[in-house]
Amino acid sequence: MKLHFSRKLLGIPYAVFLLFFVIIPMLVILFYAFTDKEMHLSFGNFIQFFSDPTKLSTIVYSLVIAFITTAVCLVIAYPVAYILARSKMKKKFVILLLFVTPMWINFVLRINAIRELLGWIGLLGEANYFNTIFGMVYDFLPFMILPLYTTMLKIDESLYEASSDLGAGGFTTFTRITLPLSMPGIASGITMVFLPSMTNYVVSDMLGNSKVTIIGKFIYEYFGTNWHMGSMVALILLIVVFLSTWLTGGFREDETVRGANL
């Protein structure tokens, strides 16, 4: 048999990667979630999760924290991206760079710096939830700005001209042109901020002095003691994440959406 080289063969390394690092681990999580300590099939973890107010509260708290973080990020990032995309400034990439540079600095270092800063202001230990959200906004802001910026950059200038030709004011232009056309950027920004802010417990541990428990920390702690419950929590988080991605349209294959992802 003669082996023909086809371009499809180039996909094999990635397929192998997917199999070993995505599909098999998912199946392992699924297996652990629905077994008990003796490895028998069991729905005990599932029932226990939904009958324990502590676990449900943690999910609710994580959702609320993630929601506020995302909302704040969006409110800050949208005007920035809009101004940057629409301005005729020659050196606007410098400003963009300033927003993106923190991403190049080590994450733990950044969080430690913020911790020092908050301690200096006197908020550390006083306002744990505020600190956590503050840290997350700081950390995830670039992930919101970039997709917004790239989508807005792609909006055709002639649309704005047409809009003003037809007598639309600034507000109408915004609601009829900018906002609808930047929707894909908003959607991908939301997915990229919402998901990590439910699980990134380094921020909540460092800035909330471990007094704020989010779902990621919960999973971590369970994996120290009870893998089965840990897997169940991870599975439920996966479902929540899947739902929210689906709702924000992350799975649509439109040209615009794909362009907006980093």
Binding site: P53, K55, S57, V60, D205, S210, T213, E221, G224, T225
Partner: protein, 515 residues
């Protein structure tokens, strides 16, 4: 063409030659591999931070890691080359997970409760009898281990859950480091009287609200809450009673439902009052003044006090609460199937007093090795090291006190003069507490599978904010409604049910027909 190919083949085989030779050389001498699994930063790694002693140093003056020295020593002593595969873990639970995943090791260094758990689950291989024979020259551990530690290891059963199993800690474990728990406190803000009056209850004291931290792990926090809960009972015990230690240990290892209920209330109040839970930020936080009191293990306390001495304007002391403190130790155990000969040799090598001092100096904790009065070369090294650090000349020092460590060193010469400060509140007090202090300490056992689970659940209730049921229901309904709204906006137009009825004169066109 053909020639070229032969040339390439020859070249390739030439390139492979050294590899072949190398592997052949190794298999010929049968190199042993010793897999050691230890805590992070829990052994001398050489370099410039190493203890300066008269052993061989590298050309640049830095010391080789102790593991390399072991490899050399082993080959010299036993004539077989050995290679140590050294890996590290961050928590006892991480280590346990690695074991469960099927990783194999020859030597592990877990804490006391994890050793008990491993023993109860039949993971461990006992030490060989020859390990305890003081006549064998290489048996440094048994000759040099402190009589205090040895007695503790020999008098405690390792598997308390199984009444038939009479084996003790010493059958399965050789000690490595030990210490107690207490508070590091900032002397400018914390009144010593408050500490002596309140003890562990300072965690709930309103005057120290947001100024005290505890560890972000369930066992340490549970211990503190237990000590607060049963303080009266502990203080009612008679200290001179020979059974005092046993009675204290019973109290400090209670895990019955009623205790858990009481402890939960105390822990919730602690949670309200404390600054936060930490695993390694505490030392920095107390040095830069964010907090005044930090629950600490003795080795960390020594480190923090050393650090504070280098900074200006901050003075830290260590306090071990009067009622009770936790006595902990980490020890070397061998999992089933380990290479016992090499593993025991490793333990013995680390127990040779000069190496014990090196490790202690490097990691800052107190080792279990005391020394052997009959050994002229190494015998007094540990005691000399301690005296070097803390002993003062009573004629010259301002306020010297006699410090008696004979219980630990098993040697009358282990009594020396130290500054009162050092002896009562500072490094010496944390490094080597007196016998009086160790007597009021209790070891925390492995709770057992069932109790462990309920205590972990308790911990998750403390750490998470629990909402009322109605709030959860309201929020869940809200989320469902929001999801429904988004769905309606996105897909509503495509479903006939949601579309408005057509105006007069028009007819409804089904979705499929429109395309």
């Amino acid at each position: 063409m053909r020639k070229k190919r032969i040339g390439a083949l020859a070249l390739a085989s030439l390139a492979a030659l050294p590899t072949l030779l190398f592997t052949a050389g190794c298999s010929g001498e049968a190199e042993i591999v010793l897999r050691v699994f230890n805590w992070e930063e829990y052994i001398d790694l050489g370099g410039e931070d190493s203890y300066e002693y008269d052993y061989e140093v590298n050309e640049d003056g830095s010391a080789p890691p102790i593991i390399e020295d072991f490899e050399e020593w082993y080959e010299e002593t036993y004539g077989t080359p050995i290679r140590v595969e050294y890996s590290t873990f961050g928590t006892n639970e991480d280590m346990y997970n690695q074991l469960q995943l099927g990783d194999t090791y020859d030597l592990l260094c877990p804490s006391e409760y994890m050793i008990m758990k491993l023993a109860a689950e039949d993971y461990l291989q006992p030490y060989e009898e020859s390990f305890f024979d003081p006549e064998i020259e290489e048996n440094y551990y048994i000759r040099n281990v402190s009589p205090y530690i040895r007695n503790m290891f020999e008098s405690n059963r390792i598997n308390k859950k199984d009444a038939d199993d009479t084996s003790t800690w010493s059958d399965y474990a050789a000690g490595y480091m030990w210490g107690v728990t207490g508070f590091i406190y900032n002397t400018s803000y914390v009144q010593l009287d408050d500490l002596t009056d309140l003890g562990w209850d300072i965690m709930r004291a309103p005057q120290y609200k947001n100024k005290v931290t505890t560890k972000d792990n369930v066992r340490d926090s549970y211990f503190v809450a237990l000590a607060i809960c049963y303080r009266d009972e502990i203080e009612a015990l008679d200290r001179s009673d020979p059974e005092y230690g046993v009675k204290l240990a019973e109290i400090m290892n209670r895990t019955d439902d009623e205790t858990i209920k009481k402890v939960e209330e105390i822990m919730l109040e602690m949670d309200e009052n404390i600054y936060g839970y930490e695993t390694d930020t505490g030392k920095a936080d107390i040095v830069n003044g964010n907090i005044w009191l930090n629950f600490a293990w003795s080795g960390d306390a020594v480190y923090a006090m050393d650090l504070a001495e280098e900074e200006d304007g901050i003075s830290l002391n260590f306090f071990i609460p009067e009622e009770c403190a936790n006595l902990w130790f980490d020890g070397w155990v061998m999992p089933k199937g380990a290479n016992t000969q090499a593993a025991q040799a490793f333990v013995n090598f680390l127990s040779r007093p000069d190496n014990a001092v090196r490790n202690m100096y490097y990691i800052g904790y107190s080792g279990v090795i005391a020394g052997d009065p009959n050994d002229e070369e190494y015998g007094s090294m540990v005691l000399d090291y301690v005296k070097d650090c803390y002993a003062v000349d009573p004629e010259e020092a301002e306020d010297p006190v006699e410090y008696d460590l004979s219980y630990f060193f098993g040697d009358e010469s282990a009594v020396f003069y130290a500054e009162r400060e050092q002896a009562e509140y500072r490094q010496l007090h944390a490094h080597y507490p007196t016998e009086e202090v160790t007597k009021r300490c209790a070891v925390m056992d492995y709770y057992g599978e069932e109790a462990n689970e309920s205590i972990n659940e308790l911990w998750s209730r403390i750490k998470s904010e629990t909402l009322d049921t109605w709030a959860i229901v309201v929020i869940c309904v809200g989320i469902v409604l929001a999801v429904a709204a988004v769905l309606l906006i996105r897909f509503g137009g495509k479903i006939d049910f949601f579309r408005l009825p057509p105006k007069k004169g028009y007819r409804l066109v089904r979705q499929q027909n429109m395309k």
